[in-house]
């Protein structure tokens, strides 16, 4: 059997787990805002719906089609978002993009919660955009 240590850096346990059990996949029927992002090159697509309460996210629906990294990111993001204000989400989104597109160490991530699991994707640079697609959908709503 091949030594797949390197691969496990990209597809960490959490990522595989979120892909098997995606969170918040159900579409919200009465969202306050919705967003969509598409990457025509690989056919990946993310739809997101958000419900706010007292200016904070109270519920999320997120449906990601396409590759595993896209799907797992969507799932992790949807858990991470709950309870956040728009400003907090924008900040998180910017920080996540910064980190994915540079060599900043995990420690500098600040409070990105379980999204940290995605840092290994940097090992396959061409796949980074897969992890950013759900964020593009989120930004569409903001």
């Amino acid at each position: 059997m091949t030594d797949l240590a390197d691969l496990d850096d990209i597809y960490g346990n959490q990522i595989l787990e979120h892909r098997r059990n995606p969170r918040n996949r159900e579409k919200l029927s009465n969202p306050d805002v919705t967003g969509r992002a598409i990457n025509p090159f690989c056919g990946d697509q993310v739809d997101i719906q958000i419900l706010f309460k007292d200016s904070r996210v109270s519920a999320v629906g997120i449906q990601a089609e396409g590759c595993l990294i896209n799907q797992a990111t969507a799932s992790i993001l949807s858990e991470f978002m709950v309870g956040m204000s728009i400003t907090e989400m924008m900040s998180a989104s910017n920080r996540f993009r910064d980190i994915m597109s540079s060599d900043v160490s995990k420690d500098k991530l600040g409070d990105l919660g379980n999204l940290v699991a995605l840092v290994g994707v940097r090992k396959s640079p061409v796949r980074i955009k897969c992890a950013l697609l759900p964020f593009s959908a989120l930004e569409e709503t903001l």
Binding site: M1, T2, L4, D6, L7, D8, I10, Y11, L16, R20, P40, F41, C42, G43, D44, G66, C67, L68, I69, S124, R127, C130
Partner: protein, 411 residues
């Protein structure tokens, strides 16, 4: 039979490791690796006689002109063109097609005319014609496909008809591997008075191609897909057609006489080569043609048939893997596209990459075909003269492992 181990020694990159594993390069439909002789021809050019071509009276310029034109002769000879004046250097196959679309087609395609393509065209033989069709109010018609990815010729005589001005078809599909009956289709086009372009980007590198036998008006080639350098390709066109065509790009080299008011055009082939040409890479493409000729295109084709049918059998045996294109090897080149319902090609590709295996994943510049197949993308393994059956074995093991990894979380 090719001596693959000997051939592999000619390709420096094949000795490379990635992630500590030997490189298994199965992305040959995207671009091929280069033998030492091609790389050395570039070094020799730059170290010994680099100079601008044509009209220089000094030694270096005479030498570079001679080698540059010699390379053109080699390409002409390789596809059995009657004259090297029929060979126009371009950057790639895409530019060759654009050249025809921007000159010949802009002049000859009229409102109501029809341009016949196939449903499996590469974007490069599709998007240029969309523009011609739009500019000229012409109609694009597509030859449909059978379930196994061959051209469905059932209604071909309705498709290629008296309104057809041009039939522009891919010889070997880079997504499906299908070899199309271009000779038969050219004959059909001739009968209705239509012109023919053959996109030979995936055939000329892999099998004997004879322009006098196929008899198209235009045929387009990509150097980097046939062991040559990047940045060089060629348009073959019948000499009398080239003679009658307006120039494409304008500037130095392609003119005969220029005044402040007007200009006249140089003779063939320079008329279609504006500015300083890609001299070194043309010479490099000549060296690639020498290499391929020495081995022999029939032997290369035979090797690809062997290795592709071997791989195809193994892929068919893997559970839950769909593959595309015909099974009959007489109708398939060395390309296999496949998909597993639950695993996105990008994940499969990333997995294989970590095993040292380079495959291409995506739409392979055939988005409409992907949509027709009902998939966003496929994973594609494509073979060449230096690939071995044991490389195929590693691919097959990797695929099995990957499906386990992603589908059952087994690892």
């Amino acid at each position: 039979m090719l001596d693959i181990q000997k051939i592999r020694k000619d390709f420096p990159v094949l000795g490379r490791e990635v992630y500590g594993k030997p490189l298994i390069y199965l992305d040959n439909a995207a671009t091929t690796q280069k033998p030492d002789t091609v790389i050395r021809s570039l070094v020799d050019y730059y170290e010994n006689y680099n100079s601008n071509v044509h009209r220089g009276v000094h030694k270096l310029s005479m030498e570079s002109t001679e080698r540059f034109e010699e390379a053109r002769e080699k390409v002409a000879c390789f596809i059995n063109s009657k004259s090297s004046n029929s060979i126009i250097w371009t950057r790639n196959a895409t530019e060759a097609i654009n050249l025809v679309a921007n000159t010949w087609a802009q002049e000859h395609v009229k409102s109501g005319d029809e341009i016949v393509l196939t449903a499996m065209e590469h974007h490069s033989n599709l998007v240029p014609w969309q523009k011609v069709a739009k500019d000229k109010q012409a109609l694009l018609k597509y030859i449909p496909l059978t379930a196994d990815g061959r051209l469905d010729l059932t209604n071909i005589d309705d498709i290629i008809c008296s309104r057809t001005k041009l039939v522009s078809i891919v010889h070997v599909s880079n997504s499906l591997g299908t070899i199309n009956p271009v000779e038969e289709l050219t004959a059909k086009a001739r009968k209705v008075g239509a012109s023919v372009l053959v996109d030979a980007a995936q055939s000329v590198p892999h099998m004997p191609v004879d322009v006098q036998q196929i008899d198209p008006d235009f045929l387009t080639i990509s150097g980097h897909k046939m062991l040559g350098p990047t940045g060089i390709g060629a348009l073959y066109a019948k000499e009398d057609i080239l003679e009658s065509m307006e120039p494409f790009l304008r500037g130095g080299e392609m003119v005969l006489e220029v005044t402040y008011e007007d200009a006249s055009w140089n003779s063939l082939p320079m008329r279609f080569e504006a500015g300083t040409p890609n001299i070194a890479d043309a010479v490099g493409m000549g060296a690639a043609v020498d290499y391929l000729s020495a081995i022999g295109m029939k032997s290369i084709r035979q090797h690809e048939v062997d290795i592709t049918s071997y791989a195809l059998d193994a892929i068919k045996a893997i559970n839950g893997l769909d593959h595309y294109g015909p099974d009959d090897m007489s109708q398939r080149g060395g390309v296999i596209s496949f998909n597993s319902p639950g695993v996105h090609p990008h994940d499969l590709g990333t997995f294989l990459d970590r095993l040292g295996i380079a495959v291409r994943t995506g739409h392979h510049c055939t988005m409409p075909l992907m949509r027709m197949l009902g998939v966003p993308a496929t994973t594609r393994a494509s073979f060449y003269l230096y690939n071995t059956k044991s490389e195929v074995d590693v691919l097959i093991d990797g695929l099995t492992e990957a499906l386990g990894y992603f589908n059952d979380g087994s690892r």
